[in-house]
């Protein structure tokens, strides 16, 4: 995404006008970007469908176990429609997806979409809290580092960010549990176990450690990003112009630079969705939080493929939609971006 801005838009520059109809650049950007997303989601379904059929012996072997005899496997395959030709199966798979049917769990006797619908809001709540906390910390940190670059505080924060990034979240979570739950007994070692979102928010003490664990690595990444973005903007002509006009340095940073940097932070947030969900698997399993990450982990251990693949699909679609929204937001905010679409 960021790197593509460097790519010469020359090849596409006259595209909006080639059809004879003048399409406004932003609308053209919208159309192209949405079409791209549709293609990407198509490839995602292909990958997920491919994964299902990459299972040795097919899904039947996984679900019925090693002792299953060929007759049982054939019966299972017939019942699930796995004995039909692959293109037909793929078509049926797409047809089910369009109707919101992600299949049935092999082990939990529930529909996958129902399970995900139950768990997803909890994961979004916990990850949302961590990400929001990370943003609130990272933006001022990154700006401060950029303004005071190559001085002691910058080096200290940079060092801290490197360590935070390199610390696996399960290691950090464990240390936090040891110190704050075991030794100091300030916070409980488990995340809130309530099923409703209100119930989870009603137990803020239990939220502290899981949120903190999720925040650490994210702050590290975000603050590095804000720092380099502010540094780039500090070198821009408009910054020099603002300074030449006599605008106070504080105002240059707070108004002119921050506004430009925040648009790129928003884009990054859109692209950060897969990372957030990966973190959720680990954090939810350490703190025993009944979200989608824990659901995925448990299904991976019981080889419950419909759930695994359903979760993968939901996350992939969320990522594609997230990056689409991020790009559209940035295109609305920054006219230079509109020309850069491939």
């Amino acid at each position: 995404m960021v790197t593509d801005h460097a790519v010469a838009p020359a090849r596409d520059a006259d595209a909006p006008f080639s059809s004879g109809v003048r399409v406004p650049p932003l609308a053209w950007f919208l159309i192209k970007r949405i079409a791209q997303s549709v293609v990407v989601i198509f490839f995602v379904t292909l990958i997920v469908f491919g994964l299902l059929h990459a299972l040795p012996g097919g899904p039947a072997r996984g679900i019925l176990g090693q002792q299953a005899n060929p007759v049982q496997i054939a019966a299972f395959n017939r019942a699930q429609g796995f004995d039909r030709p692959l293109p037909e199966q793929y078509w049926l798979y797409l047809d089910r997806l369009v109707h919101g049917n992600l299949g049935e769990s092999y082990k939990l006797n529930q529909s996958v979409i129902g399970l995900i619908g139950q768990r997803l809001p909890r994961t979004v709540l916990l990850s949302g809290l961590s990400t929001a906390a990370a943003l609130v910390l990272a933006v001022p940190l990154g700006v401060w580092q950029a303004v005071r670059r190559r001085r002691a505080p910058d080096y200290v924060i940079t060092g801290g960010a490197f360590v935070a990034y390199a610390t696996p979240s399960f290691f950090l979570g464990l240390l936090l549990i040891l110190v704050f739950a075991e030794k100091l007994t300030l916070f409980p070692p488990q995340a809130p176990q309530a099923t409703s979102l209100g119930g989870i928010l009603g137990d803020p003490r239990a939220l502290v450690l899981p949120v903190l664990t999720g925040t650490a690595a994210t702050v590290a990444v975000f603050s590095r990003y804000v720092r380099s973005s502010v540094l780039d903007n500090l070198a821009e002509d408009y910054t020099r112009t603002a300074r030449a006009k006599g605008v106070a340095e504080r105002r240059v940073v707070a108004i002119h630079i921050l506004r430009n940097s925040l648009t790129s932070v928003i884009t990054m947030l859109g692209y950060y969705i897969p990372v957030v969900f990966s973190g959720a698997i680990v954090i939810e399993s350490i703190f025993n939080y009944p979200g989608m990450g824990l659901l995925f982990w448990q299904s991976a251990q019981t080889s419950d493929y419909p759930i695994e693949l359903g979760v993968v699909l939901v996350i992939a679609v969320a990522t594609v939609v997230g990056s689409l929204l991020a790009d559209l937001l940035q295109a609305a905010a920054d006219p230079r971006v509109r020309g850069s679409i491939r």
């Binding site: 790197t3 790519v7 293609v39 990958i47 490197f162 390199a166 610390t167 491939r342």
Partner: protein
């Protein structure tokens, strides 16, 4: 004759004053204290893991129930784990796995990404669009999820882990290399080669790839760091190298069972080892990136 000698002398002076691009790169890299520290740390860790067992003999295969969970002390500087393996020895043994997988998977990922990106960026048009949508789709599926699905399908031995981690993480280098290949395609030396009848393969292998070396080398170090973390996560989630093999992540997740017993020596050494090696790789990567940028600016 004197003029000729003067010319030669001038050339000698010029070549001494302006060293080759790679020597300048090395010099720039060596000026960065963080990068040196990273390189030294990585070297020490590699020697520790691969040469350490030659001096410090431990049994990492058999179970010794008579010496399980020993506190660090004489005979076992870092104590023993729940089945009596010496932790210091295990740190070397598990480190071999972590480093082997990390480095090999990082290289596999970068090579795949480099080739994919170079072809897409050079080809342009619909092929490029198609290839990059595949990359977008891959990026939309987080690597950890793919790996966990893969690990439930296949028994995760070391070579298998290298291949699947590599196959799951080539997408970012593909994007980086594609962007560079696109801009290189328009440059005079590539256009000149096409004009005198050079083929596509020659353009990609002789002109595009050598010029993306900077991006690729920097990316490898970050890929290695991420691959080491990924293996650790997989092991923590119970899908890593099977016993009696282990890696730092596996040691750490094994130690987690004894957190509440206070057996810190089973948690801190592997945890710190992961943090240190990942930091070292990232420092090296940052140093290399700065060195390449300076080199480009000086051109």
């Amino acid at each position: 004759m004197t003029a000729g000698a003067g010319l030669v002398a001038e050339e000698v002076i010029a070549s001494a004053a302006a060293p080759g691009p790679y020597r300048r790169l090395v010099r720039q890299f060596l000026r960065n204290p963080m990068a040196i520290a990273g390189l030294a740390t990585l070297a020490v860790l590699v020697i520790f893991c691969f040469c350490g067992p030659l001096l410090y003999h431990t049994d990492q295969i058999h179970v010794h129930l008579s010496r399980e969970n020993l506190v660090p002390g004489a005979g076992h500087p870092l104590g023993t784990d729940d089945v009596g393996h010496d932790i210091l020895g295990r740190l070397m043994y598990g480190g071999q796995t972590s480093l082997e997988i990390g480095i090999a998977a990082g290289i596999v990922a970068t090579v795949i990404g480099m080739l994919w990106g170079a072809v897409a960026g050079y080809a342009g048009g619909w092929l490029d669009a198609l290839m990059m949508r595949v990359v977008d789709a891959g990026i939309a599926i987080p690597g950890l999820f793919l790996l966990m699905v893969a690990a439930t399908i296949i028994t995760p031995k070391v070579p298998v882990l290298i291949v699947i981690i590599g196959v799951c993480s080539w997408l970012v280098p593909a994007r980086l290399v594609r962007a560079e290949a696109m801009s290189l395609r328009g440059r005079e030396f590539v256009q000149a080669m096409i004009a005198i009848g050079g083929g596509r393969r020659r353009a990609i292998f002789r002109h595009i790839l050598p010029n993306v070396v900077g991006t690729v080398v920097v990316n490898v170090t970050f890929q290695v760091a991420d691959a080491i973390l990924l293996v650790a996560y997989l092991s923590f989630l119970g899908l890593g190298v099977p016993l009696p093999g282990t890696d730092w992540g596996g040691m750490l997740s094994n130690g987690i069972n004894y957190t509440y017993a206070g057996y810190w020596w089973m948690i801190l050494p592997p945890g710190l080892a992961i943090v240190i090696v990942v930091c070292a790789c990232n420092f090296i990567g940052d140093g290399l990136r700065d060195a390449f940028e300076v080199r480009l600016q000086n051109r």
